[in-house]
Structure formats: C-alpha cells, structure tokens
Symmetry: C2
Subunit: 347 residues, 2 copies
C-alpha cells in the first residue's frame, strides 16, 4: 500500500471484516488502527504512538484490571465497551481512587465486522468521557475464525487514591453498617434475556454505570467508608461473603431492605435464581461506621445511580466469616456464594 493511500482518511466501509492480517504488525494493522481505533478514541485518548504512555503520577496509586467476555456483545442498557470502561472505573473507585487512565487490549476474531468494532469503540469513547478517564495505551490482537467469540476486551486502570486510610476488606469493623446503593439483579437478567435461546422477554436494562458520583460524593463529604465493593459476577452474595471471610467477621443482612424490582423478581422466580447471586454492573456495597450510615445514605440518594441507597445490614463479631440474611418472616438464612455457575459470560 502506498503512503498516499495511508495518509488519505480511510472511508468507513462497514462491509469490511477483520482479517488475520489486521493483527500482523504490518500495513493492514496500521490501517485498522488509523481507520477505526485511533479516530474512534479521539477525544478520550492520549495522543501517542509508542510502546507505552508516560504519565505524571504522585503518591498512592490504585491499579486494577479486568477482561470482558460478555455474550452477547450488545444488550439492553450497554455493551461490552461500556462494561469494559465502567467496570474498571468502578474497581478503581472501590479502592477510594479517582480513575485517571485506562489501557485497552482488544482480542478480535477473524471475520468480525468493522461495524461491530466501531460501535464498541464508540461506546468505550463515550463511557471514558463520561467517567473522566483517558485511554492511555492499547493493543490489538487478531485470532483465527472460531478461536474467539467476536471480540474480547481487557482494560487496566490507574487512579489516584484520595483517602489517607485504606478502603479495604480488612478495615471492616463490628458495628459497621452495610449500605447497598440500589436495587439488584438488573445486569444479569438483562444479559440473560438478550441471549438466544432463553425464551423470555423483559424490558429490564442493565444497571451498567460508572459509580463516580456516589463514591466521590461520600469522600468529598469526609465520609471514608471502611470498605467498598461493587457487585459484579456472583452478585451481592459473593461480594459480602468474600469480605466476611477476609475479615473473619459476620455480616447480617435484612432481606426486606434489599431492593429488587418487580421484573427482576419475576425473572428470578421463573428461572429459579436467588437475586442475591445475580450480577450487577452499577451497584456497590459500602461498609461505614454506624455513625456515618445515615449521612452516607443521604449523600448516595442525591445521585441518580444510587438514588435507592439503603442500609441493608450490619457487621457483627460472630459467626466469623458468615453472611446471613433475615427474611420477611424473621427467619435468617445463611448466604453463600454459588457453588457453580448461574450464567456464564455475564461480563
């Protein structure tokens, strides 16, 4: 290919599909990057063409990564791109950090339509702008047909830690209040309904969203949660059980305080799912000192994404490592992680 061809803007040809050559480090790859990836991220990315980005950082820095393999790629309320930005942004926020920079690693399958990649890149661009993060560096690989499922994305994230004390499971104390930021189960049910062969319809959209507002809102008000955890795979159950086991304390939840909307509730009943196990992508739990609980809930309720925040339980000394949930009839049941898999490839 001549240099002339390269310096011309490449027209959007949505008939085009990914070839193995697009991952080869040669001209075809340069063209993919120049025609789809770099222009798609313009506005949300640092302008760099090197092996890595150089950033100016100071002090305590949070670092996290997630790969995204959700199926289908597009679902009501989001797609793999929004998920890949918001998921990693939220993991940084859960460390008490302001998200600053993300890396993006694509694994593309031969035959993927350019149009699909463009849509995902556009979603990532918009989600990055909305969350105030810059895409700092990236990588693109192509695998042969049948060796991936359309596309997978990895994002790693860097953020500046905003709190003098750590926000982590080992900071949780007996007496802490457990606050849930909203109703649960929307993401899992939305993705399931979007999948072929599940045979049920729902108007539920994923709750996929960045949690910037509520987390920074708490910190700005001087409320430093002892621990924050976003509810993703494994739902509220896995998040609380992991923390209870890590800190060797008990967490007592009150089912009546845990919001589940009617449609999620109906879908769970139909499918035999416990809503506590269903995935979310825009919900979190905050463990705060009892005295901070009410002001924290008030602050969370000011943000749309956490408008239904509520205190759903408290931390106790014993039984160590156990999560229980008191039902409407006053009987408490032990909450455990799922032993197997509810729905693969939810994120």
């Amino acid at each position: 290919m001549s240099e002339f061809t390269l310096s011309c803007p490449v027209p959007a040809n949505d008939e085009e599909t990914i070839k193995l050559a697009h991952g080869g480090g040669g001209r075809a790859m340069a063209r993919l990057l120049d025609s789809v990836i770099r222009p798609g991220f313009r506005g949300a990315s640092l302008e760099l063409q090197h092996d890595g980005a150089v950033l100016d950082l100071a002090g305590a820095t949070a670092f996290t990564t997630d790969s995204y393999v959700v199926k289908p790629l597009f679902f009501p309320g989001g797609d793999i791109g929004t998920l890949a930005i918001n998921g990693t942004v939220n993991d940084l926020l859960m460390c008490g950090a302001r998200p600053l920079y993300l890396s993006v690693g694509f694994i593309l399958e031969e035959g993927l339509p350019f149009a699909t990649l463009r849509r995902v890149v556009a979603s990532m661009h918009d989600a990055a702008l909305a969350a105030g993060v810059k895409l700092a560096t990236g990588d693109t690989k192509v695998v042969d047909r049948g060796k991936a499922d359309g596309l997978f994305v990895n994002t790693a994230g860097i953020g500046r830690v905003l709190t003098p004390t750590p926000i982590a499971p080992d900071q949780v104390r007996p007496g802490d209040a457990v606050i849930l930021s909203g109703d649960i189960g929307r993401h899992g049910i939305a993705v399931m309904a979007a999948r072929d062969g599940f045979g049920f319809e729902t108007s539920i959209e994923s709750d996929c969203a960045p949690l910037l507002g509520p987390v920074l809102g708490l910190l700005d008000a001087g409320i430093v949660p002892h621990c924050l955890r976003d509810l993703t795979r494994g739902g509220l159950a896995s998040a609380t059980v992991e923390i209870a086991e890590a800190v060797k304390l008990a967490i007592a939840l009150d089912e009546r305080a845990i919001a589940v909307c009617d449609e999620v509730s109906a879908a769970c009943e139909l499918l035999g799912f416990d809503p506590l196990h269903v995935a979310n992508e825009g919900r979190f739990v905050a463990f705060v000192a009892a005295k901070d609980a009410k002001p924290a809930v008030e602050i969370l309720r000011r943000h749309a994404v956490s408008a239904n925040a509520a205190i759903i339980g408290e931390v106790r000394e014993a039984p160590a490592g156990q999560v229980s949930c008191r039902g409407a009839l006053g009987v408490a049941r032990v909450v455990d992680m799922m032993s197997g898999e509810q729905l693969p490839r939810i994120c």
Copy 2:
C-alpha cells in the same frame, strides 16, 4: 463447599479441567484462584484480595498493555506466560522506565487442563521474579468450549521513568546511529516450527527475554537513547518504518551489519520470508546520538541478551518516512512493513 475444604490446600489434580463455573464468581472460582493462581504467583505477587492494588508511585510513570494469543501455547525457548511477562516488561523498558508492577488478565477456555494453566502460571512467576516486577492485580474469565483457544493472557505494566528527557520516536534526529541488540528472527521461526502442519524442523529457540540488563546498562552509563523499540510482530521492518514515518526522517540500514543466524536464514529461504519481517521477543533497536554509538554498543555487548549488538545504520534527513537497506552488493532496497500477514498469532 465447606469452609474446611477451602482452607485445606487443594491437591494438584492434573486430571481436572476448567469449567464454566470457574469464571462465575462463586465457590468454584474462589477454589481455582486459591488452588492454582494465587499459590502459583506467590513470591512474585502482592498479597491482596481486593478490587485493585494500591501502589506508591512518584513522578513520571510509564503505562503499557499487551494481550498474548500465541499459538501454540508452548514453544522452544518459552511459552505464552514468559511472553506475557517479558513482552510487557520490555515495552516499559522501551519507554526508559524500570518495570515495577504488572496486572494479569486470563481468558480461559472451558476444558483447559489445570496442568496447562499451572505451567503457564509457573512461567509467569519465574519470569516476573527474573525481571524484578511484582504482579499487583489480576482477573480470570472463562468462556465456553470453542470460544477461545486454550487461554489468552493480557498484562498491563507500570514502570518508573528513569530519564529526564523522553525516549520516544519524536526524539530521533538526523545523524543518529541505529543499534540492533542481536540477531533477528528467532522467535518467529521457533513458533512457526512448533506449529502443527508446518512440516519443518529446527533447533532454533525463541529469543524471548527481558531486556532489563542492556537498557538499564545504557541509562546507568549516562547514555540516554533518543528512541528504543523492541522488535515484535512485523520484525525490524515494522519497528523502523513506524519510527521513520512518525518522525518524518529516513533510516538507512546496512544489511551486512544485521545478524541472522544460519538456521533462521535457511528457514526464511525455505519459506520465502524476509528476515526483516520475522518476529522477535528479545531484540530491540536503539537510536542514539552518533557520539554515543560506540560506547553504547560496548555496554550492550556486556549483557548476554545483547552480546551481538551492532550499529546497523543511521538516520538521515531524506527521503522522509522511508527506510532503506543496502545489500551485500551495495544496492539499497526500500524496506516496508508487510502488507498482509506472515504468520498469525506469533505473540
């Protein structure tokens, strides 16, 4: 699964294979992490069980990412694990940074033997120790059978920039010497020979290695290269063409100075490959001021990984953006990136 089972060390059962449930965020996933991933990385990883790691960083920081999809997973001289550590370590070094922390994101295919994952984790552990980096944070996803190819890995890396001036393509100047750190083409030929169906045998091993010694050696001696670039996909050709195009200068190479071992040379002749296009995983080019060229080569030759370093060319004003290579008969040819793909999934 009871807590007792969990707190017991899980015996290495190499008959076991990855199930979808290992990615579900429940007990099976906790067990995979506790039995294979965390113990495998012990010694090379930070001890954390949270959404991300908190690191203490100061000043200019390099950030990079790469996904690894090499096929086969194991090849003479390395495997996907060594590649995933060394590749990202080397990208940080190419920014003039000391590699400090890596993230690791696995995408595992249902049916992958635990034994395979254990081998890869062990390679990553050893490579991380050898390169002096810590694995700071990670993620594991599982996709259904037939939707990945065994396993893919993404690593993102963070390093501390050691130089006051940037090391980047736009720092390259006319008159700069181009130094190549060793003979080229080993990785590409080794992976190709390891692949089913290629039908040729060779004793060539991949050059996959961390480039810590030579790069830190240069910087310690006060030699700040204008630009560094490791030769991966696309080989020496893509690396130099990308830089020539970015800085709008010419790069004139001398073929007689570019080392290619006999076996790589023979394989390239057999397959019709230009060695300049063949992938490497432990070689780099350094662009240095002419006055620094000889001392730089002397320093590089002190390290085993760059014992055959040599000056292979120089940077000129014109023709802008063009790389040429003068052959044994004194005739110069234009070097371009490959237009298509030589060998998919080389890294």
